[in-house]
Symmetry: C2
Subunit: 336 residues, 2 copies
């Protein structure tokens, strides 16, 4: 009977045959529910929620004003993103606190503490940091949004760019420049966005009739997403007997690593090697040449993520949503 | 009588003539206090703490396990720093949550909410983000550490490098290379660390008998600490009829901005212009040439900040401390 401690509104819906929206109205005392339905639902809850966990969660809900943002702080997009979340949250009377999943690993004790002791109303995840097991666990209990992703389930909304199309367009641009030996420096495929970006890369090549060279594709563990690993990976690929003439890198930092290694090896950029990064961080304009990249509207992603989260907090009956925002391709000297 | 709501242990100490350490022992029921003293202190508290604010704060203290870290997320040192804080906190049963002061401005409502509603045991500030008014306000109520600073008051401990000596040594190194026209790109002087770094700069010149050229010194508002502003500032100085032959920049990002503008103006680095940055972030190795810089041990600063904070939480009678950690000067190609 361990399940009793983790009873959710979805369980009650399944057992009573009453919709989640109606159960929410009952627990929030919002009226518009037949007395017969109310009695049926409360009977189910009393039979399974013996610890009162579900009820106390709902009783506390009106006072739950914290939006917990789960991030991997190593990501330079976080600052404008959190600023967007804050702006939206504060305008609606919510408060934002940030929890860092270092190396994308989460500490279960931390989350149990947060859920039990703090008046958290909802969660925003930067991508699925901590892994899908964590986001699913949280989403079964709290309104949840995943940002910088298109990751939708029954319980999870998301806000992000079209990663597939953004990468496909960027690679098509390289092809129009006459490049045919195109390498990819990607994160590992444990994250939905890395999978979609890789698919965009592969489809661009396929549609142009360019065979994929598996040796040109490298995956760096997302738990170890750093500049030095990217330099090692770039050095290996650029040192091949038949090196690529273009590189698509999953972040500007990785693109800077490719550029650095190309210079060390005497490879001219962009003449012998075109390089495209991702994110339009300051790094992409600091290097010489500056790096062609894809801009994500981080502030807007943060603002919209918070906005749909608060809608869901205020009305748990709302279905999950998938919000797409526009990315922008920025051509600089690394691909001329 | 508005003051009654903000009564602090310091007020009780002043009014009762009993030390803060003793009052802490009384409120924490730690014994070793004469009954006569205890009665005197409790009488003072009962007369001034009519709302019970002080008492309820102390009663809750054993359950207060959150360490709130107040940061300005735009700073690239934050990730390893928070990692250090987390590691120490988790090993001692505390939980870390982060609050962002964007543009170094804080929202009073946010802090009032945090203090009132969350079981916060202590605060760590990244420098004095939010301003000294905020740190002083918090430090009067909670154990408080300021990190990346030497900022000590009766209530505030700090953990940081010796900013003065680090900058003085770096500028002395430029002088040994034969540079005499040395520019400074600093933050504004609202922060203790920018003041100390500027003093190190000025003293290095003074001791070498090099006159200070005020036109070579620029201050960028710390509320607007960004790459593009630094580029504008660097462009102005490098376009002077008699430009500098060396630049000390307060961050690697600013040093990268100086390098970028030098290249645009056809100034060779390091031949015509030597450049030194600060922080040893990835940026300092991404540029070409790589930038000479000063490393701060961010993880260690985070770990030690949390460690002395928890000591103080566990024993409020401890005096504030000033912990110095070692910086490291790293010579790269921008100053050969």
């Amino acid at each position: 009977m361990a399940r009793e401690n983790n009873i959710t509104i979805s369980d009650v819906a399944a057992m009573s045959g009453v919709s989640i929206a109606t159960i929410s109205r009952i627990l929030n005392n919002k009226g518009n529910v037949k007395e017969e339905t109310r009695k049926k639902v409360m009977a189910v809850i009393q039979s399974v929620d013996t610890n009162g966990t579900l009820l106390s969660k709902f009783k506390k809900q009106n006072g739950n004003l914290i939006i917990a943002v789960v991030t991997n702080d190593a990501n330079p997009l976080i600052s404008p993103f959190i600023n967007g979340v804050n702006t939206c949250a504060n305008s609606k009377g919510f408060h934002v606190l940030q929890y860092n999943c270092f190396n994308n690993a989460y500490d279960r004790i931390e989350f149990e503490y947060m859920i039990k002791e703090l008046p958290v109303a909802g969660f925003i995840f930067q991508q699925i940091v901590g892994g899908s097991e964590l986001t699913d666990f949280i989403a079964a209990r709290f309104p949840t949004v995943v940002s910088f992703e298109q990751y939708q389930t029954e319980n999870i909304s998301s806000v992000g760019i079209d990663d597939y199309a953004a990468v496909k367009s960027a690679v098509e641009y390289l092809i129009t420049l006459g490049r045919k030996k195109i390498a990819l420096l990607n994160g590992d495929l444990s994250m939905p966005f890395t999978v979609r970006r890789e698919q965009g890369f592969l489809d661009a090549l396929k549609q142009a009739g360019i065979p994929v060279c598996p040796e040109y594709i490298t995956h760096i563990s997302v738990s170890d997403f750093n500049y030095n690993l990217a330099r090692n990976a770039a050095r290996q690929i650029l040192s091949m007997p038949d090196p690529p003439d273009a590189f698509f890198a999953i972040t500007d930092t990785f693109a800077a690593a490719v550029l650095k290694e190309a210079k060390h090896l005497g490879i001219s950029v962009p003449q012998d090697l075109a390089i495209i990064g991702f994110d339009n961080t300051d790094v992409s304009t600091m290097t010489d040449p500056a790096i062609t990249t894809v801009n994500q509207p981080c502030y807007e992603i943060g603002y919209q993520s918070c906005n749909i989260l608060i809608d869901k907090i205020n009305d748990p009956s709302l279905a999950s949503r998938q919000v797409w925002v526009n990315s922008e391709f920025i051509v600089r000297d690394s691909t001329q």
